[in-house]
Amino acid sequence: MLTILFDGIAYGMVLFVLACGLSVTMGLMNFVNLAHGAFAMLGGYIAVLLMQKAGAPFLLTLPAAFMGGAIVGLVLERLLYRPMYGKTHLDQVMFTIGIVFMAVAGADYLMGSSQQIIRLPSWLQGRFEIAGIGIGRYRLFVLCVCGLLAFSLQWGFTKTRFGSRLRASVDDARVARGLGIPVNRLFALTFAIGSGLAGLGGALGIELMGLDPSFPLKFMIYFLVVVTVGGTSTITGPFFAAMLLGVADVAGKYYVPEIGAFIIYVLMVVLLIARPEGLFARARS
């Protein structure tokens, strides 16, 4: 029982790292980025390549996956995404679906269509038991890394100057501009960090979620659920949404495997109907 809770939280943590960038960019620019998963996939493949071809240790691939996602995010933001901000949600959806399609086919071409497999260092393999709770070492590791990240993100978002400027811009970009906040630069940076986090999440998630070219499509719904349920103006909203989702998904599959696959969708639709503005979003007048 507690093992399931633990697994669910670890799973939710990865989801959070994968999706939190999306939620901030969505809030900041009101931009629907369905291609977020492509950055995650990129991070995953970077990790795989580094380990398989260059023999890099697993821990080293994590920052590399972050940087890879961030750099590509920065470049794409500048070149492709920026012209899209003024367009309708529909255009943004079409545009980012296009990117997803390209990423999926491109990954298939470059990396092959099969599931990628990495070998974890031995100290991350296996599991141990504390008071009857079976704890996978790797899941514990993921939990620690992601927990730390969530904590520092929350700190950065609420306590630093960057964070306060960001929050001001999310609230009202026009006013923020008027106050002399360089919203565009702020956004480029946020986008890069968000994409980097996605990349990191992709690398961390290989063991838990697998990695193949269909990754961005397969997990799109998960990211969107985290964001729509968690709202787009805080870090804590998506965090709790991701935890909720992770635990509900894992527990649902454990206890009622017959309908396990439905739980996430039903959860999303019900929550959206009940709280169309997101579970943790502030009420906007």
Binding site: D7, Q115, R119, G134, P257
Partner: protein, 392 residues
């Protein structure tokens, strides 16, 4: 990657040649419409079969019974509607004498009606749900059926002191086939079974494996499509099920030869029952494996490849028997009861069901010369598909 490019190139070449040559050689050619998933999650199935088909033609020439065989390869992206249209177009526009390939059960079923309506033999080289051959009197199968591979597992388990089994299967036709055939046989022999089904697009096996861990059975019976076998095996080990003494058993899909190296040592010791292993000990198989590897950059043939290879042989032999008559009924009649020695061992096309009858081997995953193989250690000779056998 090179393999990929080569395959692509040759596929294109063949298609091109086929379209160009079709008009001139219509009289003396027998076209084979090969429909495979060349893209998408099941692309490896397509690649293996395509390579095996080419290998067969390269080894045996391409003229049988006076007819030159021409392959028209089409990618159905493992989408059943596309399969259906491609089959129809191949029949109507290209006038193919055979439809072949079919990577997954729904794809094979989608073409069944076309085969019936057009009276064109449909050679199923991969899909493995038991009922497929009942969908059309023109279907002949050269792969295997899951009950065929799963039932012997139940016998083996009972004999080897396994009393409680937890089954984990992917929730679609073949998985359900594997689960029910195994469970029925196992329960009939006095064992107890618990079951759980995993959604097809499932990212994380953790909750399902946790159930297995909590239940502490003697063995875990698993069927997942070969592509995600690796993921499953790793989580099985991560969760410590191997150390808890829970044996991994099942039909051979999870330890697919094609992926075994990538799965790694976690696969060691798995007991599986299947119809083909690249390590099958026979002269025919050694030659087949060597030739296949040589032609495909060292790619190891798996059970998909053998289905494609023998499928081509069935087509070739049928054409020989009919002396090049491409009438569908004549071809089917020629295929019924056909038997020969395949690299996998002796096989027979059941004259009643048009399904394949073959040896099922019990294998253990071991390391040979530093490579992982499924080493056969027991044989159940000439197994018929138990589902159709039971219906009679």
């Amino acid at each position: 990657m090179n393999v990929r490019r080569q395959v692509l190139k040759s596929a294109l070449g063949l298609t091109l040649a086929a379209t160009l040559g079709s008009a001139a050689l219509a009289q003396d050619t027998a076209k084979v419409g090969l429909i495979l998933p060349m893209t998408g999650p099941f692309a490896s199935t397509g690649k293996q079969i395509d390579a095996a088909v080419k290998l067969f033609l390269a080894q045996n020439g391409n003229t049988f019974g006076g007819k030159k065989i021409e392959i028209i390869l089409k990618d159905d992206t493992s989408n059943a509607d596309v399969t259906r249209r491609l089959a129809q177009e191949l029949v109507v526009n290209d006038k193919v004498a055979f439809l072949a390939g079919f990577g997954l059960t729904p794809l094979a079923l989608a073409a069944a009606q076309v085969a019936t309506q057009a009276k064109v033999p449909e050679i199923v080289m991969a899909a493995a749900t038991a009922t497929i051959t009942e969908a059309s009197p023109y279907i002949v199968r050269t792969s295997f059926t899951l009950p065929q591979a799963s039932e012997p597992m139940a016998d083996w388990a009972l004999k080897n002191n396994i009393k409680r089994v937890f089954t984990v299967v992917t929730d679609y036709g073949p998985g359900i086939d594997a689960e029910t055939s195994f469970a029925n046989k196992f329960k009939a022999g006095g064992g107890t079974v618990e079951s759980v089904r995993v959604p097809l697009r499932n990212p994380d096996f953790a909750p399902f494996l946790q159930r297995v861990a909590d239940s502490k059975p003697d063995a875990l019976f698993v069927f997942v499509p070969s592509g995600i076998g690796a993921q499953f095996m790793k989580q099985y080990v991560e969760r410590g099920l191997d150390k808890a003494g829970i044996k991994l058993i099942g039909p051979g899909d999870v330890v697919d030869d094609d992926l075994l190296e990538a799965i790694g040592d976690v696969a060691l010791g798995s007991i599986t029952t299947h119809h083909y292993s690249a390590a099958h000990d026979s002269a025919a198989n050694k030659a087949f494996v060597a030739a296949f590897k040589a032609a495909n950059n060292g790619l190891r043939p798996n059970f998909m490849a053998i289905g494609g290879y023998d499928g081509m042989r069935v087509i070739a032999e049928a054409l020989k028997k009919t002396n090049g008559n491409t009438d569908g009924d004549a071809l089917i009649a020629a295929m019924k009861g056909m038997s020969f020695e395949s690299p996998r061992g002796p096989i027979l096309i059941d004259p009643e069901t048009r399904d394949i009858v073959q040896n099922i081997y019990v294998r253990k995953t071991e390391k040979l010369n530093g490579e992982l193989f499924n080493v056969e250690f027991a044989t159940i000779p000439m197994v018929k598909d138990p589902v159709k056998a039971a219906k009679k």
